[in-house]
């Protein structure tokens, strides 16, 4: 019976979750605004229910612990949610009319909720923040809808270009001169590849759709282009004739055909992504800042493994503004307490602690000379933050994170099959179809 049970577990869980998601209420909440009075978020009392994804566990636990220790009249109760069902859990709680007071929600998932008026409009409260213009633009963009702001950044998961200083030196390259153009990436990778003895110049997770979206797109943005045009309610695909995209795909095609990356990159679905880099076998790896910090030994960071901004084709740089936004559900019971907690987290005293908790701050004004000296590696994504971006769309997962999605189909056809024309056609038609469905 276990065969049946094993296979039915996920299917059954899916059905149960599906039923629980939909089983409580019949309509979405009406949009509401945060009170504009001066008492909102000031000297609140009671309890704040805070849901954070498990990926920010260390950060969330530390912040909550410190907040509770210093705010006797307002206590935050933390609940960690699985990264696989945090969206459906939140939707269920909102439908049931019993949502948490504040949520750390994956920023790319925010638009699906703002469109339905599920979150409190925080525009007036955010306008009062003196550092509003310093908040991560990508995070802010994903929480904006129809001219209103429904969230602020919570923590950042940014993409950077990692490189191995030892291998640079061994290959006769300047270890303090990381690549800043596609041509340099290619030539540096070629030089490192020549070292042999199992060393490759470059690596990428070639079967991980999300990883590729996270690391390839910033180069396109650095070149001043995006893959979609327009706001989330009238978006169109911008693939056909997109030279910045073509250059990025050509770079990866060259890397692949010249065998500058390990053969097993083709099947790396992200499970082993970065392991060869921290093992000292790879010269250059576009990846997450926190990803390598988590994988590497502390002694390697800075001395052997170093990061730099992800470059565009011919200079410029950008980063994927990943991570989470703080949002307050419209039916939250203690929105004032939630906003007080959020404001406290956004203060520089708390932001300065982020690097030691494995995260990057989300305020650009935190990047001071003292910060750079204390955290040279984390200063890189923080510097890139001002140029960062994340595509605000209702269908990010469908476009970029699925094996059958148009992004990966386009990448596969261009890079592995070498058919750029067909790849761009597939990308244009695939993205257009999903965007049309989303805006119907």
């Amino acid at each position: 019976m276990k065969l049946l049970l094993n296979r039915q577990v996920l299917a059954g869980a899916a059905v149960v979750t599906l039923l629980s998601v939909v089983g409580c209420a019949s309509s979405g909440p009406a949009a509401s605004s945060a009170p504009s009075g001066s008492t909102f978020g000031v000297n609140a009392t009671g309890t704040v229910q805070f849901w954070a994804r498990t990926v920010s566990k260390t950060l969330a636990q530390k912040l909550v612990s410190e907040f509770n220790a210093t705010h006797k009249n307002l206590q935050v109760k933390l609940t960690l949610t699985s990264i696989n069902d945090d969206v459906t859990s939140l939707a269920t709680s909102i439908r049931a009319g019993d949502p948490p007071d504040v949520v750390g929600l994956n920023d790319i998932d925010v638009p699906a909720f703002t469109k339905t008026g599920s979150f409190l409009d925080l525009t007036s409260a955010i306008d009062k923040l003196p550092y509003k213009q310093d908040l991560s633009p990508g995070h802010m963009g994903l929480a904006a809808y129809n001219g209103k702001q429904y969230g602020v950044p919570y923590w950042g998961d940014f993409s950077v270009l990692w490189y191995n200083k030892n291998l640079f030196k061994e290959a006769g390259l300047n270890p303090n001169d990381p690549p800043t153009t596609y041509a340099q990436i290619l030539s540096d990778a070629q030089a490192i590849n020549k070292l042999g003895h199992g060393v490759n110049g470059f690596t990428f997770a070639g079967d991980c759709q999300g990883c590729l979206g996270f690391t390839v797109q910033p180069g396109i943005w650095a070149d001043g282009s995006h893959l979609t045009n327009g706001g989330i309610s009238n978006q169109t695909a911008n693939i056909a004739g997109n030279t910045a995209l073509e250059k990025a795909l050509t770079l990866y095609r060259e890397i692949w055909t010249q065998h500058l990356a390990p053969d097993n990159d083709r099947t790396d679905d992200g499970t082993t992504w970065g392991e060869d880099f921290v093992a000292g076998k790879i010269g250059i790896m576009p990846g997450g800042y926190g990803q390598v910090v988590d994988l590497a030994k502390p002694s390697q960071l800075g001395s052997e493994l170093m990061d730099s901004p992800l470059p565009g084709s011919n200079g410029g740089y950008s980063t994927f503004d990943g991570g989470d936004d703080f949002v307050i559900p419209a039916a939250a019971k203690n929105p004032s307490g939630a906003w007080e907690f959020i404001q406290w987290v956004l203060q520089t005293a708390q932001q300065d602690q982020y690097p030691n908790l494995g995260a990057t701050p989300i305020r650009t004004d935190v990047l001071t000379p003292a910060f750079s000296a204390a955290h040279p590696l984390d200063a890189v994504p923080l510097k890139a933050l001002a140029q960062g971006y994340a595509p605000p769309t209702l269908v990010y997962d469908q476009m970029f994170n699925q094996a059958g999605g148009p992004w990966f189909q386009m990448f596969t056809t261009a890079v592995y099959d070498g058919n750029m024309t067909l790849a761009l056609q597939q990308g244009q038609s695939g993205l257009s179809r999903l965007l049309q469905q989303a805006t119907q």
């Binding site: 019976m1 276990k2 065969l3 049946l4 094993n6 296979r7 039915q8 996920l10 299917a11 899916a14 059905v15 149960v16 979750t17 599906l18 039923l19 998601v21 939909v22 089983g23 019949s26 309509s27 979405g28 069902d85 969206v87 459906t88 939707a91 909102i94 439908r95 699906a112 909720f113 339905t116 599920s118 079967d207 390990p262 053969d263 097993n264 083709r266 099947t267 790396d268 679905d269 499970t271 082993t272 997962d397 469908q398 994170n401 699925q402 094996a403 059958g404 990966f408 189909q409 596969t412």
Partner: protein
């Protein structure tokens, strides 16, 4: 009636009500969040014309057709090997059943690592035997991925079939074999004339479990190929999962789930009918 009422109440609360509610959801355009509308059978008519759904159903049928026979044959062969209580039988029973005990998800992750080009054991061993290139990318090509998953599932699931058939074999009275031996029956004649007919109900059970399991296949595809390349190895349960929890089309996904329940129900009923034991019915 009073005696069965607790059981009926449990079935009503945990089976009938959710099922009925799921049917209702499948008749709406239920989104992740926000209002929904009753749309009648529109989801079902869209399903029929949805190339993604149709492809996933066809792929599931192909996958089921490929693995069902070998699971039965291999399971039967293993049952024959270990049914007698001779020396070493317990060891082999355990060894054959172990893959099933460890679990499909764990083994899928292990296989994913072993199928990696360059570093995985599969390419190393097969290349030494001259059966594959040392850098074969198993999980990103349709034929290779399907082959690898089918071989893996046959290895995984045959143990359960072995247990079901072995239990049936051990329940067959020894006198029948002794009488046939007196009459000069060969091993094959005993197998064909005694064992197989008396195992009819066990075979039916093993087949039904195997076919339902194949129709509900998810873990191995989700872990090993994520349905790729493209959606070529996407079984129907993964299609439902992605419609519900990636696309957030909950009403539409539920219609797919209901359609799957109906198809599995029909196939199971057909199997029960075709493999029914007339003598058992008469009793």
């Amino acid at each position: 009636m009073i005696l069965v009422s607790p059981a009926f109440a449990l079935v009503a609360v945990f089976v009938l009500f959710p099922l009925g509610f799921a049917v209702y959801i499948s008749l709406t355009d239920w989104p992740l969040i926000g209002p929904y509308h009753f749309i009648g059978g529109a989801n079902y008519s869209e399903l029929i014309h949805d190339p993604g759904f149709v492809h996933s159903v066809l792929f599931t049928l192909i996958y089921t057709a490929i693995v069902t026979g070998p699971i039965l044959v291999v399971g039967y062969a293993m049952a024959v090997l270990v049914r007698a209580n001779r020396r070493g039988a317990v060891f082999f029973r355990t060894a054959f059943f172990l893959p099933f005990i460890v679990g499909l998800a764990t083994e899928s992750f292990m296989l994913l690592l072993e199928l990696q080009p360059d570093s995985g054991a599969a390419d190393y061993v097969l290349s030494k035997l001259g059966l594959a290139h040392e850098n074969t990318a198993w999980t990103v090509q349709y034929n290779l991925a399907l082959t690898a998953i089918c071989v893996f599932v046959i290895w995984f699931a045959s143990g359960l079939t072995m247990m079901i058939l072995m239990a049936g074999m051990q329940g067959i009275p020894r006198e029948l074999y002794e009488a046939s031996e007196v009459d000069g029956a060969t091993w094959w004649q005993k197998e064909r004339r005694i064992t197989l007919p008396l195992l009819r109900r066990n075979i039916a059970l093993a087949l039904i479990i195997s076919v339902i399991g194949s129709f509900l296949a998810f873990n191995q595809f989700y872990i090993l190929t994520e349905g790729g390349p493209g959606t070529s190895t996407q079984p129907v349960v993964m299609w439902i999962y992605e419609e519900a929890f990636v696309q957030y089309h909950l009403g539409y996904a539920t219609a797919g789930a209901i359609a799957l329940v109906i198809v599995v129900g029909i196939i199971s009923a057909a199997q029960f009918y075709l493999l029914r034991d007339d003598r058992a019915v008469k009793r």
